[in-house]
Structure formats: C-alpha cells, structure tokens
C-alpha cells in the first residue's frame, strides 16, 4: 500500500529525516513514537505529499509520489497539528469547501453524515472559531476523512482532547481499521498509540531506530524499550 525508500529531509544543515525505509500493507496501523524533534512530523509530511523529500521516494499502491499528480492526492487524508480549517467559515462550509475541491458528489447528504460521525451534527452552522479545541480537532478529522482516503496520516491527534473527544476519535480510528484503511499516527500518547496499532516504531534523530509488531509488545515492555532506545541512541 505505502512504500518509502531512503527518505531524507533536510532543512539547511539540519537533517530531520535520515534515510527512512518503510513498507505498510493495506489495513495496517503504524504508530510512530519519538522525542520532540525526532523528525516524526517531517516523515508524515513526506508520506502525505505536503513536503518534498530531499532524497528518496514514496509510493502509494505502486504509484510514486508526484507533486503534479492530482489524482494521487485523492488517496491521502491528513490531520496535522493544525486543522487546515477556515476559522471564519462554519463547520458545514469548511467541509463543503473541501468536498468541492475533491469533487465529491452528494455533499448535502455526506456532510451531515460526517459531522454526525464526529459528534458535531448540532454544530454545523457554528463558525469554527467559536468551537472548542476538541471540536475543531474532530472537525479536522471529518475534513481529512471526507473523501474516504486509503492512507490516513495523523500528527498528534489526541493533543488537547478531553476524554469524550478522545473517545470519538478512537471510535473513528477503529472504523478505519475495520474498513482496511492504512493509518500512520505520530503521537506521544502511549495508551492511545498502542491501543489500535498493528505496528509500532520509535523514531529518533530522523531514523526509525526500532520497529515491532504491536501484538508482540505490552505497554510496560514498550515503555522500557522506548527509554532504552532513546537514551541509548548515540
């Protein structure tokens, strides 16, 4: 489904991502942990086509990432630190805008359904700047999933969410797994990060320093491994 080979991203003299190789199958859920500045967001940006790799390649279903290939972008949905939303527009208008950009049909039915799925049916006509952080995060999720992407990229989606909002997010992510969508999530939240993952990885100083099948590690074992890897990395 997703194949990255020798991914490198440099910002001047700083190497944010340093030679990452990654292969993800359909329905896999990879959670990437790592300390701040490990290059996790840059890795996600390159997988999503938001950042051009300095070197290396990314392919989705065998199609190499091509910045000019607009069809390729239909297969990707991303939730970033920021919501990619227009604060002055309503929740409904934001989704309508993105839905029309993606050329989606039947938006009059689709938008209420997606808002209901993230628990915002009664906030459709609220301007985004009047929504709480948790609501905006849920709306960002609805925006990212509006076009039913095959590859979903999540950058710290649980940050600042209250328990109710986190539960909605967890439920939506479970549904993605049921529908065989491939997910890559970057997070510091061990509980949520391990809950749905089929694979886990630790990124440090741009490299994927450790990877494992999620079923092979429990929380305590992973925590021990995380400290071992992060503190022992040269």
């Amino acid at each position: 489904m997703v194949e990255a080979r020798g991914l490198v991203r440099e910002y001047g003299a700083v190497v944010a991502v340093d030679g990452v190789d990654l292969t993800l199958g359909e329905g896999e859920f990879l959670t990437v942990f790592g300390p701040n500045g490990a290059g996790k967001s840059s890795l996600l940006g390159m997988l999503g086509g938001a950042l051009r790799p300095t070197r290396g390649t990314v392919a989705v279903r065998g199609r190499p990432l091509d910045f000019g290939d607009v069809a390729w972008r239909r297969s990707i949905g991303m939730v970033s630190h920021r919501g990619f939303l227009y604060p002055q527009l309503t929740a409904e208008e934001n989704l309508r805008f993105y839905g029309r950009l993606f050329g989606l049909p039947d938006l009059d039915e689709l938008i209420p359904e997606r808002l209901a799925r993230v628990g915002l049916a009664d906030r459709a006509r609220f301007a985004v700047h009047k929504l709480s952080h948790g609501m905006r995060q849920r709306l960002a999720l609805a925006r990212a999933l509006l076009h039913d992407p095959e590859l979903v990229l999540l950058d710290e989606p649980y940050t600042g969410l209250d328990p109710a909002a986190a539960a909605v997010l967890r439920q939506v992510l479970e549904e993605l797994g049921d529908r065989r969508r491939t997910v890559v999530m970057v997070t510091h939240n061990l509980t949520e990060g391990l809950a749905l993952a089929t694979r886990v990885a630790i990124q440090i100083r741009g490299r994927l320093a450790w990877q494992s099948v999620a079923a092979d590690v429990d929380r305590a074992g992973f925590e021990h491994r995380y400290h071992e890897v992060v503190e022992g990395w040269p």
Binding site: A50, A71, R73, I76, M78, S80, R82, Y86, L101
Partner: protein, 222 residues
C-alpha cells in the same frame, strides 16, 4: 475550472464574513481622494490633468494594501496546506485567488474612480464602457502579479513589506498605459485614440496571468 470556482466562492465568502480587506481598502480610497484634493493647487494645475495618474497610483497603493493579505487568512489554521494537499491543480488555485482578488480590487477601483470624480470634478467622458474596460484590464494584470508575489512574500520574514519592492518595477507598463487611457477617456477623447493602450493592457494582463499560473507551484511547494 470547477476548482477555480470553488476557490473564488470560498475567498469571497471569507471576505464577506470578515470585510477585513474591503473596509481597509475602501477607507484608503476615500482618504487618498480627500488628501490628493487638498494637495493640489488648482491655480497652478488643473485637477483634470493629473487625475488619471493619481487614480492609478491610488489603485496601486490600495491594491498592495489589500492584496498583500491574500494569504493571511489562509495561514491562520494552516488551511492553505490543506488546499495544497487537495487534488486542485496549483494553477487552478492561483487563478481562483487571482479572480477573487480581481473582484475585490475592481470594486475598489470603481470606488476610487467615484471618489476622484467627486473631489476633482471629473466627468465620466463619452465612453464609460471603454473607461471601465481600461480599469478592468489594468486591475486584472495587477492582481495577477500581486497574487503571485503575495504568495512569495508570505513565505518571507519581511512579509508584506517585501511586496511593493517585488511588484512595483513590474507595474510600469500597467501604470503608463492605464493612466494614458484613463486620462484620454476622462477628457472625452474617442475610443479609437486609446485602442492601442487597451491592447497593451490586455496583453499585459494575459502574460501576467499565464506567468502567475505557471510559476505559482514553484512558489508554494515546499
């Protein structure tokens, strides 16, 4: 073309909600007209003789005031990155933003014209449609350049301060031929006398739009 329309719809809806740019540009247009009115000694120079140049310089300064903020609202929640990650081609995004900027600046240009007609005692002339066409073509070329360079300057630390430095040198043809056509039409000269000016303004607008559409992706891709 559908995605161009979507961008225009969103930009105009945002402007309608905030009225952020139109309020600033409209106020500037009125204030500039008032100040220019007081700055000219009517016993030495006839206001009609200098009005066309002042109209165009007001449009240019007013345009830079508003168009410099083209990408301001896009950056508030990273929304523009969401647009760039959508399947909308970059040239369609550029054209959408240029068209919405055109609607905004053309409305302001009409206001500038009205303000100067009021304060300078100008008459519309015998060819109002040609006058509107000259304004429209000049504004179109201007917004094409300003939209492209607003994208460039939004990615720099200097931001909006950079925009006039980047754009002014490229506006020389637009100001020369726009002011030339406007002055003659306001003076009641026949349209045939400004046909050449209108052709240059149209060519300038087309080249600026084509260049902007072609270069935009190099500006916005990271």
């Amino acid at each position: 073309m559908r995605q161009v329309g979507v961008i225009v719809w969103k930009d105009l809806l945002l402007e309608l909600r905030t009225r952020e740019r139109f309020a600033a540009m409209g106020s500037f247009a009125v204030l500039a007209g008032v100040l220019f009115n007081f700055s000219i000694d009517a016993s030495l120079v006839r206001p009609q003789d200098v009005a066309a140049g002042l109209i165009w310089m007001t449009i240019v300064f007013d345009g830079l005031l508003g168009l410099g903020r083209t990408f301001h609202l896009e950056g508030e929640d990273g929304a523009f990155q969401g647009v760039l990650m959508s399947p909308a081609p970059k040239d369609a995004i550029f054209l959408g933003k240029a068209i919405s900027n055109f609607v905004l600046l053309y409305a302001v240009a009409l206001l500038v014209l009205g303000v100067f007609m009021l304060f300078f005692g100008l008459e519309i002339g015998s060819s109002p449609l040609a006058l509107l066409l000259a304004l429209g073509l000049g504004v179109l070329g201007f917004v094409a350049l300003a939209t492209l360079f607003a994208a460039v300057s939004s990615g720099t630390r200097m931001g909006e301060t950079m925009l006039p430095i980047l754009v002014f040198p490229l506006l020389v043809p637009m100001v020369i031929y726009g002011a030339g056509a406007t002055g003659r039409l306001l003076a009641g000269r026949p349209v045939a006398e400004v046909a050449g000016n209108l052709r240059v303004l149209a060519a300038f607008a087309l080249v600026a739009l084509a260049a902007g559409a072609g270069l935009f992706r190099f500006v916005v891709e990271d």
